[in-house]
């Protein structure tokens, strides 16, 4: 790390489209300001552990880090991050401007949405509902409003498209992402919420085994019947593969995939895929939010230089560039930018779903809880446990975690 002169910054990024964007931004910044920015790029799986270890050990190896929003509570509660407020103040600004999507900014505060600001949102991902509009027209299925519509559509397609896939194979009505762990949970949460279930009650006690919770799970299993065999091991890759190969008609997925569907090298369903808001049930559908944030570690060596870059990188024109590089923005102005809308027709939907998206529960124990919850969802998916058993045992285990976390 550079000392004092702040002519050098080190930046830990996620390897993938988000990191690449920031990397290129950094090069532009270097060209403009002459501040050399060194990039440390890590696989998504490992970025977290790297940051955990480095920040925990206070090596000050990084001046800036990218982090996925679920990690934020842990980092902030453990005091790994720098409060940005003073830095804003230093530059005579009250804080981030209003252009940021509130749900995104809320993620960057600890406690959630009310507390101090420890990061700025860089990539505005939130789940979308993908579906094959060609098939919907073909079988004139009604527009998707509720999960029951989804189920009905799935059933129809399963029956009618036994050989409808490009290879002559079967088109499955729905493809679920249910690999143990994060995957299963991420795909389940929208249903879970829509059915009116909640992870915790006001007192922070787990309530996953509520009647709503169990029903949500039952519904998920029902939906699973129309998913390709082995969906219990699917992760984003398999899901996307099915959609791209045209062997599945509907799924929850992340915007990062949208571009692929129009890429001949990857897609057999060019022009046939459409995107809509998360379906609802008892409640209106809400997507799970998954933003990439940028923060300054507590032990960063060049806070000010780092903060300057942070501000620069999250300006709307920089974010537009990032958007052009394939990352959904976190600013309304960018979402509504004409040029971008032309290039990314889904932006309207994305903005909507981002704005009323929901974050995963903001607890430092989330990883642990999500993992456990995922295990039992998976057990339910493989039929090892009945929905009731699964939920009640999940509840018990989650309670344990919270207990030992105290």
């Amino acid at each position: 790390g550079g000392t004092g002169g702040a002519k050098q910054l080190t930046l830990a990024v996620n390897s993938g489209v988000e990191g690449d964007a920031l990397k290129q931004a950094a090069q532009d910044y270097e060209a403009q300001t002459g501040v050399h920015i060194q990039i440390a790029e890590f696989p998504y799986a490992n970025l977290f552990e790297k940051e955990l270890v480095d920040l925990g050990a206070g090596t000050g190896a990084y001046d800036l880090i990218m982090l996925d929003d679920p990690w934020f509570p842990k980092f902030s509660t453990q005091g790994f991050l720098t409060d940005l407020q003073p830095l804003f103040a230093k530059r005579g600004r009250g804080g981030p401007d209003e252009d940021f999507v509130p749900s995104s900014i809320a993620l960057c505060r600890h406690p959630y949405s009310t507390g101090a600001l420890y990061a700025l949102p860089y990539v505005g991902n939130s789940q979308l509902f993908f579906y094959r509009k060609d098939l919907f027209e073909k079988h004139n299925l009604k527009e998707l409003k509720t999960w029951d519509d989804v189920l009905a559509a799935a059933r129809t397609i399963n029956e009618r498209e036994a050989t409808g896939a490009p290879g002559g194979g079967k088109v499955y009505g729905y493809v679920m992402r249910a690999a143990q762990g994060n995957a299963a949970v991420a795909d389940f949460m929208p249903i879970f919420w829509a059915f009116g279930a909640e992870m915790f009650d006001a007192a922070g006690r787990p309530t996953v085994n509520s009647a709503e919770g169990v029903n949500a799970l039952k519904f998920m299993l029902e939906l699973g019947k129309y998913s390709p065999p082995g969906y219990a091991s699917f992760n984003a890759d398999e899901v996307s593969a099915h959609l791209l190969q045209g062997t599945a008609a509907m799924s929850i997925n992340w915007p990062a995939w949208i571009s692929s569907f129009s890429d001949a090298a990857k897609s057999k369903v060019i022009g046939k895929m459409d995107f809509t808001d998360m379906p609802g049930a008892k409640l209106a559908g809400r997507a799970e939010i998954g933003n990439w944030l940028i923060a300054i570690p507590r032990d960063a060596k060049n806070m000010d230089a780092a903060f300057d870059f942070l501000l620069w990188a999250t300006t709307s024109e920089q974010m537009k560039r990032s958007a052009l590089r394939g990352n959904p923005p976190t600013r309304r102005s960018v979402f509504t930018d004409a040029e971008l809308l032309a290039k990314f027709p889904a932006y309207a939907v994305q903005l909507r779903s981002l704005e009323n998206s929901r974050p995963r529960p903001r607890t430092p124990l989330w990883n642990e809880i999500e993992n456990t919850f995922g295990i039992f969802l998976s057990k339910a998916n493989t039929g090892e446990l009945t929905p009731e058993e699964a939920m009640s045992r999940a509840n018990a285990e989650i309670a344990k975690i919270i207990e030992s976390g105290r």
Binding site: L52, Q78, A179, Y231, A232, T382
Partner: protein
Amino acid sequence: MRRRQILAAEYERALPYLLVAPTLLVLIALSIYPLIYAVRVSFQTGVGTGARWTLQNFTRLASDSFFLSALAHTLVYAVVALTFEFLLGLGLALLLNREMRGRSLFRATLLVPLMLPPVVVGVVWRLMFNPNFGAINGTLKGFGLNTEALVWTASPKLALASVIAVDVWQWTPFVFLVLLAGLQAIPQEPYEAALIDGSSPWQTFRHITLPLLKPAILIALLLRTMDLLRVFDQIFILTEGGPGFATETISLYIYRAAFRFGNFGYAAAMSFVLLLLTNIISLVYIRLLQRQETA
């Protein structure tokens, strides 16, 4: 003259220590501190400043059903994989321990799985196991089999078998490599004597080859066991321990505790259990296989 020789004698006496010294230094330097660290954190909760001294990490082990089933999976995994890897490796080593055309090419080729980065292995197999696009079911379908039920890593019944299969595929070459080198070191005379004494191929194998191969066998078993009990990469990529915890092994669980949940104390505590386990098994092997040293 005399002094030179006395020095020589001293040097001769010191030599063995000089020879092991570097190794010991490196190992001490890189193993003592981590050990101390692990011991310390295993008796603490929380990290850094907020750390408290406690036994809870160990007490928790007993009641942690996840830990116990992970332990069970690990043992099953190790035993089954080791059995196959050893038998196959031994078989291959014996097959290729003879003069034949193309031998050296065969040998090198058989090592290929060993040479692939575990991540890649995991990825490739994950793709092959895919029930719908995967090469395996695809080929089976090609033979007209119904593969509806064969969802490999997605089925709680097949998942463990599947990851074991991958391990066998990747690590049998190692056993093969070690045992082959061992076979190569066995002199020819005893075999000729055995022929003369009229021992059948099987008897020769049983009474001559196996005993003389003991050192190599010991090494192969020791190292494979140690690594099997710590198996991580392939499973992590293939199943992340799923479905429904069916393939979760200790290392995965330790990994989560340490790197996902930031609970180093608990991770360390579990590692000590693993260490103990490994130690016991190793000692058993050594008891059984160590050739008594006749100085």
